[in-house]
C-alpha cells in the first residue's frame, strides 16, 4: 500500500548513518588496537591513520544522526515512532532537546556524542601514545551504536532504531488506511514530570560525566597494555579532575531538580538511580587522590589502576541497573523492561569492558611498580590513601545495598529494603562524613613523606579553636533537633557537624597561612572547604527540617499508629486541607488558599496560597508572602505536582499540593434566589445574613479598575456568618461597549455562597441574587516543609566545583588570564544554576 504524507527520506538517511557509524566504530576499535600493539612502527602509523579516519567518520555520523532526530521531532513527523512517543505540538521549543533524551535510544545517542567529542579532543595531539585510550573510546561507541542499530538477525532485533516507523512498530486498524497520518493529530509528548529546565541541562551534564570517566579507564588500560606502568597518570589526572567536577555537579543537579520541582520533599533520597551515579563518582574521587599520591611519592600506583578501572566499570554497572528494568519496583525513576535482546546487549557492553580490564590488571599486578618502603604514618600520602579507602568502601556499601534486586533475581530470594531506607544509608554516611571531615581537615597539614610534630600542631591551633567555637555556637544558638533515632545518633550528628566545620576552617586557614592566599594553587583546599560546607548544610537541613503542615505541629491529635518501639507516631499526619478563603494555622504561619489560575501550558493550574506570620502580642503581620505551587494535568490524565519555594538566606519554605480536585466540575443545580435591597438593608441565608453597604459606580479597588465613563455598578456587601465571621463580597453588573450586560458574580467560598448583582430597580434598591451551592467546596490539600540551611548545601557544592576546576586548570598549566577566562564563566554558571535560578 502507498501511504500518503509520509516523509521517509530523513529516516532512510538516519538508518544509513547509524549503520555507517556502527561499522566505522568497529573499524576504529580494530585499527586503534593494532596501532597500540603492533611491533612495526610503520604499520603502527598506518593503523593509527585508519583508526583516526574511522573515528572521525563515526563522530560525523553521530552528529548527523542527532540532527536528523532533532528534525523529525521538531517537525512532528509522527510517522516515526520516536517522534510520536516523545514529541508533541504543544511542547514548548525549549523541551525539544529534552524529548530527544527522554527515551533509552536518545540517551545513548547523547552519551555517544560526548564520547565522540572527547575522542576527537584526545586524538588532536600525540594520538599514537593514546591509541589504547582511543581503543576503549571506540569500543564504547561501538556498543552505543549497537543499542540504536535496529536491524534484524533472524527474528531478533539488534538495538532499537530512532528511525523506526510507527506503522511498523504498533498495530492498529488505522494503519490500513493510506492516509493514516491525517488522523494522528499529535504525539504523546514529554512526560509531564520531566517538563522542567533541569531536564534540558541535567542529562547532558551527567552523560558528559559518564563519558569523562571513560578516559582514566582508557589510560589505565593503556598503562597495563604498553607496560609503561607509570606514564599514564600524569595525562589522566586532568581527565579525572574533569570527571569529578562534571559528574559531581551532574548528580547534584539531579538533587536540585528533585528538590525544586518534584514533590519528594528533599534533594537526596538514596534512590537506586541516584546511588548508581553516585558510586562511580566516589570511586573516581578515590582514584584522583591515589593518582596525586603517585605523582608526589611513587606510592599507590596499583590502587590508581584499580580505582580508574572500577569507576567506569560502575558507570556501566549503573547503566545495567537503571536500563534493564531490574530495579523494577524499588526505584521511582528507573526505565522499564526494554526487552531481552537489549538487556543481553547491555550485559555484553558491561562485560566487555570490565572483564578484560580486570583480568589484565590481575595478570600484570605483580609487575606494577610499588615502593617497598612503607609510608610513614605522619606523612600526607598515608592518610590520603586511607581517605581513598574510606571513599571506596563507602561506594561498596552503597552499591551492595542498591543491588538487592540483583541478588533477588540471581538467588530467587524476596528481600526488600528496610522500613526506613534513608536511615539505613544515613547512619553509615554520617560515620563516613565524620571520618572524611577529620581527614580533610588534618591531612593537608602533613607534608609528603614526613612531618615534624611542632609544625603540625602550630599550624593547626587556630583552625581547631575556631571549629570548637563555631560548633559551640551551633549547639547553643541553633541546636539540631533530630530526636527520631535517639540521643546517640544526635550525638553522632553533632560529631559530624564538628568534623565538617573543622574541615572547613582548617582548609580556609590552610589557604591563608600555608599557601599565603595564593588561590591559584589552592584548588584542593577550596574543594575540600566546599565539600565540608556542603556536608554541614546537609546535616543542618536534614536534622532541622520540619513539616509544618503536620498535625503534630499544629496540635491536632489524630488517632494515628504509635510505634511500640520508638513510642512515636508511625505516620505523622503530614497533609493539611485548606478550604478556599479560610485562613488555616500552619506552624508559625496562617495560610489562606485564595484562588487558582491556569498557566500558559494546557492543563497546568496554579494555586495561590497566602502565608502570613503574625507577631504574638501585637497581631501585626511580620512576614507575608505568596506561594504558587501548581498541578499539571495532562490529557492522558497523568498528573504531576510541582512545589513552590519561598527562599530566604537561611531557610526555605517549601510547599506542594498533595491532593487537588480534578478539573471536572459537576453541574450546579441550585438557583439564584433574588432579593431586593436598599443600601443598609440585610437579607438572610441559611448560615447567616448579608448586608448591602453601598452601591458604587465605576469602582476602582484591588479587583476592579474602571474609567469614569464606563457603565458599571458594584454592590459592596458584607457577609456575616453564624459564627460571626465577616467576609466582603463585590458582585458587579456592567454594560460593555457592545451594549451587552455582563455579570461578575462573587463567591464566598468559606460559606459556599454565590452573590450576583442581578439588576437595578426604579428606586434606590437593587436586586441581589443569592445562591447557596451544593457543589463541593473548593479546597486543596498541601504539605509544607521548612528547610533550614539548604543554601549552605548549594553554596558548598558550588565552591567544591570551583575548587576542582581550579585544580584542573592548574594541572593544564594555563597562564593566569587563561585560568580566569575559563574559571569565571564556569563559576558564574554554577552559582546561577544552584543558587539563583529557582
Amino acid at each position: 500500500m502507498e501511504f500518503i504524507g509520509e516523509h521517509l527520506l530523513p529516516g532512510q538517511f538516519g538508518h544509513f548513518f547509524v549503520i555507517l557509524s556502527f561499522v566505522a566504530s568497529l573499524v576504529a576499535v580494530i585499527s586503534f588496537f593494532l596501532a597500540s600493539t603492533h611491533k612495526n612502527d610503520l604499520q603502527k602509523t598506518q593503523w593509527l591513520r585508519l583508526g583516526k579516519a574511522a573515528f572521525i567518520t563515526q563522530a560525523l555520523c553521530i552528529f548527523i544522526i542527532f540532527a536528523l532526530v532533532f528534525y523529525i521531532c521538531s517537525q512532528h513527523l509522527y510517522e516515526y515512532l520516536y517522534a510520536y512517543k516523545h514529541a508533541s505540538k504543544e511542547l514548548e521549543p525549549k523541551y525539544l532537546l529534552a524529548c530527544i533524551w527522554e527515551g533509552q535510544e536518545g540517551s545513548f545517542l547523547l552519551w555517544s556524542i560526548w564520547n565522540a567529542l572527547i575522542g576527537l579532543l584526545l586524538m588532536r595531539k600525540n594520538a599514537l601514545s593514546k591509541a589504547p585510550v582511543l581503543t576503549a573510546s571506540s569500543l564504547a561507541q561501538f556498543f552505543m551504536m549497537l543499542m540504536i542499530l535496529g536491524i534484524y538477525i533472524g527474528d531478533t532485533r539488534i538495538g532499537n532504531s530512532l528511525f523506526s516507523l510507527t506503522r511498523n512498530e504498533i498495530n492498529g486498524p488505522i494503519f490500513n488506511q493510506p492516509n493514516y497520518l491525517v488522523f494522528i493529530k499529535d504525539g504523546m509528548g514529554l512526560n509531564v514530570l520531566l517538563r522542567n529546565y533541569w531536564m534540558v541541562i541535567h542529562p547532558p551534564v551527567l552523560f558528559l560525566g559518564f563519558a569523562l570517566c571513560l578516559v582514566p579507564f582508557g589510560y589505565a588500560y593503556s598503562g597495563l597494555l604498553t607496560k609503561k606502568y607509570g606514564d599514564w597518570v600524569k595525562p589522566a589526572l586532568p581527565w579525572a579532575l574533569a570527571a569529578t567536577a562534571v559528574l559531581g555537579s551532574g548528580i547534584m543537579m539531579g538533587g536540585k531538580w528533585a528538590y525544586e520541582s518534584l514533590s519528594f520533599g528533599g534533594y537526596w533520597a538514596w534512590d537506586p538511580v541516584e546511588n548508581a551515579s553516585f558510586v562511580p563518582w566516589l570511586i573516581m574521587v578515590a582514584g584522583l587522590h591515589t593518582m596525586l599520591i603517585y605523582k608526589a611519592t611513587g606510592h599507590s600506583l596499583r590502587a590508581s589502576y584499580f580505582f580508574s578501572i572500577l569507576s567506569f566499570s560502575f558507570v556501566l554497572y549503573s547503566t545495567f541497573l537503571t536500563r534493564t528494568g531490574i530495579l523494577g519496583d524499588t526505584s521511582v525513576h528507573s526505565f522499564t523492561e526494554a526487552g531481552k535482546a537489549i538487556n543481553i546487549m547491555i550485559g555484553l557492553f558491561v562485560a566487555s569492558f570490565v572483564i578484560p580490564a580486570l583480568v589484565l590488571f590481575i595478570v600484570r599486578y605483580k609487575k606494577i611498580p610499588a615502593i617497598v618502603k612503607e609510608e610513614n604514618t605522619d606523612s600526607r600520602e598515608f592518610w590520603m590513601f586511607i581517605g581513598s579507602l574510606v571513599l571506596f568502601f563507602t561506594a561498596l556499601f552503597i552499591i551492595a545495598k542498591t543491588s538487592l534486586p540483583v541478588y533477588n533475581k540471581i538467588f530467587g530470594t524476596s528481600m526488600a529494603a528496610p522500613q526506613d531506607v534513608e536511615f539505613s544509608y544515613n547512619k553509615v554516611a554520617l560515620m563516613v562524613a565524620i571520618i572524611l571531615g577529620l581527614l580533610t581537615a588534618l591531612t593537608q597539614y602533613l607534608k609528603y613523606r614526613n612531618t615534624t610534630r611542632s609544625y603540625f600542631l602550630k599550624k593547626l591551633m587556630w583552625p581547631t579553636l575556631m571549629a570548637v567555637l563555631a560548633t559551640a555556637l551551633l549547639v547553643v544558638f541553633y541546636p539540631l533537633e533530630f530526636h527520631k533515632h535517639g540521643a546517640g545518633f544526635l550525638g553522632a550528628i553533632y560529631l559530624g557537624a564538628f568534623a565538617t566545620i573543622y574541615s572547613f576552617f582548617a582548609n580556609v586557614f590552610y589557604i591563608w597561612l600555608v599557601l599565603k592566599g595564593k588561590l591559584v594553587n589552592a584548588g584542593a583546599s577550596i574543594a575540600h572547604a566546599g565539600f565540608a560546607l556542603m556536608i554541614v548544610g546537609m546535616l543542618i537541613s536534614s536534622s532541622n527540617k520540619e513539616v509544618i503542615s503536620s498535625s503534630l505541629v499544629n496540635g491536632i491529635n489524630m488517632p494515628g499508629m504509635i510505634d511500640p518501639m520508638t513510642k512515636q507516631q508511625d505516620n505523622p499526619m503530614e497533609n493539611l486541607t485548606l478550604i478556599r478563603d479560610v485562613p488555616t494555622r500552619m506552624g508559625p504561619y496562617e495560610v489562606t488558599y485564595r484562588s487558582d489560575s491556569a498557566g500558559h501550558e494546557k492543563g497546568r493550574k496554579f494555586y495561590r496560597l497566602h502565608f502570613n506570620k503574625k507577631q504574638k502580642n501585637s497581631k501585626q503581620v511580620s512576614e507575608s508572602f505568596i506561594l504558587e505551587p501548581d498541578v499539571y494535568q495532562m490529557k492522558d490524565n497523568n498528573m504531576s505536582s510541582n512545589p513552590d519555594t519561598k527562599s530566604y538566606l537561611t531557610r526555605d519554605i517549601f510547599t506542594y499540593i498533595s491532593y487537588a480536585l480534578s478539573g471536572k466540575n459537576t453541574e450546579d443545580t441550585s438557583q439564584f434566589n433574588i432579593v431586593t435591597l436598599k443600601p443598609g438593608d440585610s437579607s438572610f441565608y441559611s448560615r447567616g445574613y448579608i448586608i448591602l453597604n453601598s452601591v458604587k459606580k465605576n469602582p476602582i479597588n484591588e479587583r476592579y479598575h474602571f474609567a469614569p465613563n464606563d457603565m458599571a455598578l458594584m454592590a459592596d456587601i458584607t457577609v456575616v456568618s453564624k459564627d460571626s465571621m465577616h467576609y466582603p463580597a463585590m458582585p458587579l453588573i456592567q454594560i460593555d461597549s457592545l451594549n451587552q450586560v455582563q455579570l461578575t458574580d462573587d463567591t464566598v467560598y468559606a460559606q459556599n455562597l454565590f452573590l450576583r448583582f442581578a439588576g437595578v430597580t426604579d428606586s434606590a434598591a437593587i436586586r441581589i441574587g443569592i445562591k447557596e451551592s451544593d457543589e463541593p467546596i473548593d479546597f486543596v490539600t498541601v504539605k509544607t516543609y521548612i528547610f533550614p540551611g539548604i543554601n549552605l548545601v548549594w553554596l558548598g557544592l558550588v565552591i567544591m566545583g570551583i575548587g576542582v576546576i581550579l585544580s584542573l586548570l592548574h594541572r593544564l598549566q594555563l597562564n593566569r588570564t587563561q585560568t580566569l577566562m575559563a574559571l569565571i564563566p564556569i563559576a558564574l554558571a554554577l552559582f546561577y544554576l544552584f543558587l539563583l535560578a529557582n
Binding site: 527515551g103 612503607e374 586511607i386 568502601f393 556499601f397 538487592l404 528481600m415 499508629m561 490524565n637 498533595s658
Partner: protein, 141 residues
C-alpha cells in the same frame, strides 16, 4: 602493603562490616496471605486495587486518611489504610507496591509506589491503546 596499612585496612573493613550487619535490617516481599501470618512485621506487598469496593478518601474530613481494598495475584485480599494524601491516579494504577505492617483487620500502609500504565511509553500495548483512542474516529469511517 605493610603492617600499618593492613591494620588500618582491617580496621576499616571491620567497621564497614559492622555497620553493614547493623544496618542489615532487610524486610521481605510477601503475599497478602503470608503477611497475615506476620502480623505487626514490616513487609512489602505487591497487589492491585480491588475495584469491587469503594475507595474512601475525604480530604475535607481528614486529608491523612485513605482506605481501600487490595487483592494480590494469589487471591489474598485485605483492607488497606494509608494515613497520607491519596496518591494521584491510584484508581488507574495497574499495580501497587505497598510497604507497611499487617494489623488484625487491615494493612497499615506507610508508603505506596504506583505503577501506572500511562507513565510507561515503552510498553507496546499501552502505545497501541493510546493510538487507538486517538484515532478511533477515523477507524469508524
Amino acid at each position: 602493603m605493610k603492617k600499618s596499612h593492613i591494620i588500618i585496612l582491617v580496621g576499616i573493613a571491620v567497621l564497614i562490616a559492622g555497620l553493614l550487619a547493623y544496618s542489615a535490617d532487610f524486610s521481605t516481599y510477601d503475599s497478602i496471605a503470608s503477611a497475615k501470618h506476620k502480623e505487626g512485621k514490616f513487609v512489602h506487598i505487591i497487589a492491585k486495587l480491588d475495584h469491587n469496593y469503594p475507595l474512601e478518601y475525604d480530604p475535607l474530613k481528614d486529608p491523612n486518611y485513605l482506605s481501600f481494598y487490595a487483592i494480590d495475584s494469589l487471591g489474598g485480599s485485605t483492607k488497606v489504610i494509608y494515613r497520607n494524601s491519596k496518591p494521584t491516579d491510584i484508581e488507574k494504577s495497574e499495580r501497587l507496591v505497598m510497604k507497611g505492617k499487617m494489623q488484625k483487620d487491615h494493612f497499615e500502609c506507610s508508603e505506596i509506589l504506583l505503577k501506572c500504565p500511562s507513565k510507561y511509553k515503552d510498553d507496546k500495548k499501552q502505545l497501541e491503546k493510546n493510538m487507538q483512542e486517538q484515532t478511533s474516529a477515523a477507524a469508524q469511517h
